[in-house]
């Protein structure tokens, strides 16, 4: 045993900078130092949702880093098995929170997966299928098309046919991912009007911000975008909502498609004009995390602009907490529990801000949730592409929620809202799933929360 030749020597040059990318090796474009940050202590393992579920160290952060390093060093091939372990990662970044060594896991797995897609010969990659092309990239990221696609869904819901489809399990007869998509749809209220391009501050003006609407979020949670805008206004913010903003690019990037993501990023740079505002405010954790990462995803002439853009990005809870929240007046006499969205708690390290804001609402009680920062399985589009693991984690999350005895769940990410609501509907539980801004907005408007 242990007869492998010392695998590191050829890579020593990589320590001082990036080696010339070797198209056949997905690890060749990764700064080798990042692998060395991991001292193999294993303290990350129990924070990883897939490891907690499966108990296989290949499906843990330490294991995945070991696999990626093994492929990079040429110790093992990128076999379909190795690929599976890397694909199964939710990219929830819980391991980064747990890691005392400061391993930047996201900066290993994300570029590795991008490279994994591009090194796969002739569109055989996982994300080169009709679903990714037409639905995820073609529909999700295009609010106008998405809105059109929801017209028949609204009709089904109006006629209550959707409930019948869910209750009878007929959705399982559809192509798997389409069926899941259908069951993920929230109860769509009447279509909310589009946000205007400008909403003025109420009272003394304290800041001038751009609101990032998101693509899926804007269509499915239009009312939350309105709520967010009103809360910002109530806190003395002039809110700009430029029409020309586009999808943040996370769906593409996380599926390993770097180029389309870069184009979207640069469109947003042009549309949101960071120099003119105090902050770029985002209410969806996944988008916020992507926007904050613009500065290091691509290495080209525009990197400095993207870094400057990223420095202005704030999650709405983070922003209001920094600004100092104007006391919300209306009582909401309910018990709620808070689920930490991965891309807020782990990727952006925003944990206490939303809780602090919620505590300011009169008469609202927050019950802590067990495993509140363990991924619910939504993870961007993971719940569509990895249904089995996504369902396991959704069941686990719902179980923990039900144990609190609380029927209102608050979370700051569109994907989690959809995922938790879906699981509770499928299991027949009545649960209200809300964004913190929905609650704050109710309080500012002195309205009641109905369950």
């Amino acid at each position: 045993m242990n007869q492998d030749p010392d695998p590191h020597l050829p890579h020593r040059s990589a320590r001082t900078g990036l080696a010339a990318p070797d198209v056949s090796n997905p690890g060749s474009a990764i700064d080798y130092e990042r692998f060395l940050d991991c001292v193999h202590c294993g303290l990350c393992t129990a924070a990883c949702p897939t490891y907690v579920e499966l108990g296989n160290e290949n499906d843990s952060p330490r294991g995945r880093i070991y696999l990626m390093r093994g492929v990079t060093d040429g110790r093992i091939d990128l076999t379909p098995g190795v690929r599976r372990h890397l694909e199964l990662c939710l990219d929830c970044r819980a391991c980064e929170t747990a890691c005392p060594s400061g391993v930047q896991y996201g900066k290993l797995i994300e570029p590795f997966r991008v490279a994994m897609e591009t090194t796969e010969p002739n569109g055989r990659g996982k994300t080169h299928d009709w679903f990714h092309r037409w639905i995820l990239f073609g529909l999700f990221t295009q609010p106008r098309r998405m809105r059109a696609a929801l017209v028949p869904a609204r009709l089904l819901q109006r006629l209550r046919i959707d409930r019948w489809i869910e209750a009878t399990g007929l959705w399982r007869l559809l192509p798997q991912r389409i069926g899941r998509l259908l069951t993920l749809l929230p109860r769509l209220g009447p279509r909310t009007p589009d946000l205007p391009s400008f909403l003025p501050a109420v009272g003394r003006r304290r800041a001038r911000v751009v609101l990032f609407k998101g693509c899926v979020g804007d269509v499915m949670f239009g009312s939350t975008n309105w709520a967010t805008a009103r809360v910002l206004q109530a806190n003395g913010c002039d809110v700009l909502i430029p029409e020309s903003q586009v999808c943040c690019g996370a769906i593409h990037y996380h599926a390993g498609h770097s180029e389309p993501a870069r184009e979207l990023a640069d469109q947003n740079l042009a549309a949101l004009k960071p120099a003119d505002v105090d902050a770029i405010v985002v209410n969806i954790a996944g988008c916020g995390s992507m926007l904050k990462d613009y500065g290091h995803h691509w290495h080209d002439g525009r990197q400095a602009d993207r870094t400057a853009f990223a420095a202005k990005v704030r999650d709405v809870s983070e922003f209001l907490d920094e600004l100092g929240l104007v006391s919300p007046p209306g009582p909401i006499p309910h018990k709620v529990t808070y689920h930490d969205a991965c891309h807020l708690a782990h990727a952006q390290r925003v944990r206490e801000a939303p809780r602090r804001l919620l505590r300011r609402i009169p008469e609202l009680v927050i019950e802590e949730l067990r495993e509140s920062d363990l991924c619910c399985g939504a993870a961007g589009t993971y719940n569509l592409t990895e249904p089995e693991m996504a369902d396991r984690l959704a069941r686990r999350k719902l179980q923990n929620i039900l144990e609190t005895g609380v029927r209102v769940v608050v979370t700051g990410n569109a994907g989690c809202l959809l995922q938790i609501a879906r699981e509770s509907r499928l299991q027949g539980h009545v649960l209200r799933v809300l964004h913190p801004m929905d609650l704050l907005d109710l309080s500012y408007r002195n309205e009641c929360l109905t369950i």
Binding site: M1, N2, D4, D6, P7, H8, R12, L36, D37, C38, V39, H40, C41, G42, L43, C44, T45, A46, A47, Y51, L54, G55, N56, E57, N58, R62, G63, Y66, L67, R69, G70, D73, R75, I76, D77, T79, G81, V82, A98, C99, P100, S101, G102, V103, R370
Partner: protein, 479 residues
């Protein structure tokens, strides 16, 4: 497919645990070639994930019949190579046996499977006023089964005792596949203390599949202090002064400047970066006496030259302080690509001496060494920083480690306080114990594990093994 296994073994294992429960591809096995101790590596030939005691027993019988070595593994956080599959064979990974089977608050015990992560039990006990006392620094990831195998300690063992003081009983699978129960929910049982023998046996006697653990009442209050010192000697003298005054802190930890800098980078707690050492001191118990104890400790620290003594203001600050302390090893990644944590014990009064020796040894071998350790019970953890890709550095680290541990023995101490012997310290057993003592241990092991098929090459040196194995050229740093 592994070459040196009987061809019938893997199909047989597949029949027992199913296709989801077996790993045999080379790429899948690679991550199991080492644990938190990375200096030595060896891949198992097969990994199995049993989900119940019966499956463990069947896997064990299967290995016995095939004459293949087998070794249990939990979360793989061992710092002494406790999970290293010496000689390959079958690795029995217990991470899918992760149920908390019972919590009995009235009789104050819990029953858990070995794969339960230490902190899960304490989390499950929230609101009951009870907790599971052994709190190794890796408690967020390590399993209770692994704690039993290594008789884990932790910062709070100074007052509460180590794992063996909290295990009431175990169910285990013997190397011949027989399932036996030792002890149980009640505290005292007559006869030989077989439970005590099992705890700390590092998987060389049996594979533990169920554990009855004692639950401890939460203290009414805490006082957590941070003593800041300008010299390591002053800090270590303060430790002796505190204990010498008859105070038994719940925990008494020392961190030196090197580790303070790494922790501050990791967690931004506000540690004084210019201090030579800090003591993290905690007393707990009934509210009534705590303020007086705290005052006494503050005065003792001042008398020994403490620059200041800070108090944790609230529960949140206390939690942050402990998080810093418990994640200290991992934070080393900020200082160097690899590290080797040593685990020696010396009588408390020898702490100033041993720390001076550590500095001296580090200088002589040109190895940077930082210290964070359980000062209250004299359990030192010098951390040697190096780059595992440089074999020459690795040799110097091994040499320096050996010298430090030799010194611990010379002071009347021990070569491990809590990490276990594993493969790392096996060479020291002959120096720590007489041949007669080792013989008794070996005979006891042979009574249960006659063919040494279970965890071979662990804890006890083989008859032919020499004490200087660590220096052998075959122990090169590969990944």
């Amino acid at each position: 497919m592994p070459q040196n296994l009987p061809t019938t073994l893997v199909p047989e294992l597949l029949r027992i645990v199913g296709v989801e429960g077996v790993l045999a591809a080379r790429a899948d096995l690679m991550v199991y070639e080492c644990d938190g101790f990375v200096i030595e590596k060896n891949s198992p030939d097969v990994v199995v994930f049993p989900t119940c005691t019966e499956q463990v027993a069947r896997v064990v019988r299967c290995c016995r019949d095939a004459g293949v070595p087998f070794v249990p593994r939990g979360a793989g956080t061992s710092l002494a190579g406790g999970c290293l599959p010496v000689g390959g064979g079958v690795m029995i990974v217990l991470t899918r046996m992760k149920q908390i089977l019972e919590i009995n608050t009235r009789d104050r015990y819990a029953v858990v499977q070995p794969g339960v992560v230490n902190i899960w039990l304490t989390q499950a006990l929230r609101g009951t006023g009870l907790h599971y006392a052994p709190d190794p620094s890796s408690q967020g990831a390590c399993t209770i089964g692994g704690n039993v195998a290594t008789n884990s300690g932790g910062p709070h063992t100074l007052k509460y005792g180590v794992t063996v003081n909290h295990v009431l009983g175990v169910e285990c699978v013997l190397p011949d596949g027989e399932i036996v129960c030792l002890g149980g929910p009640v505290d005292e049982s007559p006869g030989c203390d077989l439970v005590g023998a099992m705890v700390g046996s590092e998987g060389t006697l049996a594979i533990v599949t169920k554990i009855w653990v004692r639950l401890t009442k939460n203290p009414q209050g805490y006082r957590t202090m941070l003593g800041v010192f300008d010299s390591v000697d002053d800090a270590t003298n303060a430790i002796s002064a505190i204990i010498g005054h008859g105070i038994v802190p719940a925990a008494l930890e020392m961190l030196d400047q090197g580790i303070i800098v790494a922790l501050e980078a990791a967690f931004q707690f506000g540690f004084p970066l210019d201090a030579s050492a800090v003591l993290l001191i905690e007393v707990d118990g009934l509210e009534v006496g705590l303020d007086a104890q705290q005052q006494q400790i503050v005065e003792l620290c001042r008398q020994q030259g403490a620059r200041e003594v800070r108090l944790a203001r609230d529960a949140a600050e206390r939690a942050r302080l402990w998080k810093c302390r418990k994640q200290a090893f991992g934070a080393i990644g900020r200082l160097s690509p690899s590290y080797c944590t040593q685990d020696g014990v010396v009588p408390r009064t020898q702490l100033p001496h041993i720390l001076r020796r550590i500095t001296e040894i580090g200088n002589r071998h040109r190895i940077r060494i930082v210290n964070v350790f359980h000062a209250g019970d004299g359990n030192i953890h010098p951390i040697l920083l190096f780059d595992e890709r440089d074999p020459e550095q690795v040799q110097r680290v091994l040499q320096a480690s050996n010298e430090i541990l030799e010194d611990c023995l010379a002071c009347g101490g021990s070569v491990t306080g809590e990490h276990g012997i594993g493969v790392e310290k096996i060479g020291f057993m002959r120096r720590m114990f007489t041949a007669d003592s080792l013989d008794v241990m070996a005979r006891f092991r042979s009574a249960l594990n006659p063919d040494n098929q279970l965890s071979p090459g662990k804890m006890l040196p083989t008859a032919a093994g020499c004490g200087l194995e660590m220096k052998g050229s075959h122990r090169k740093a590969a990944v």
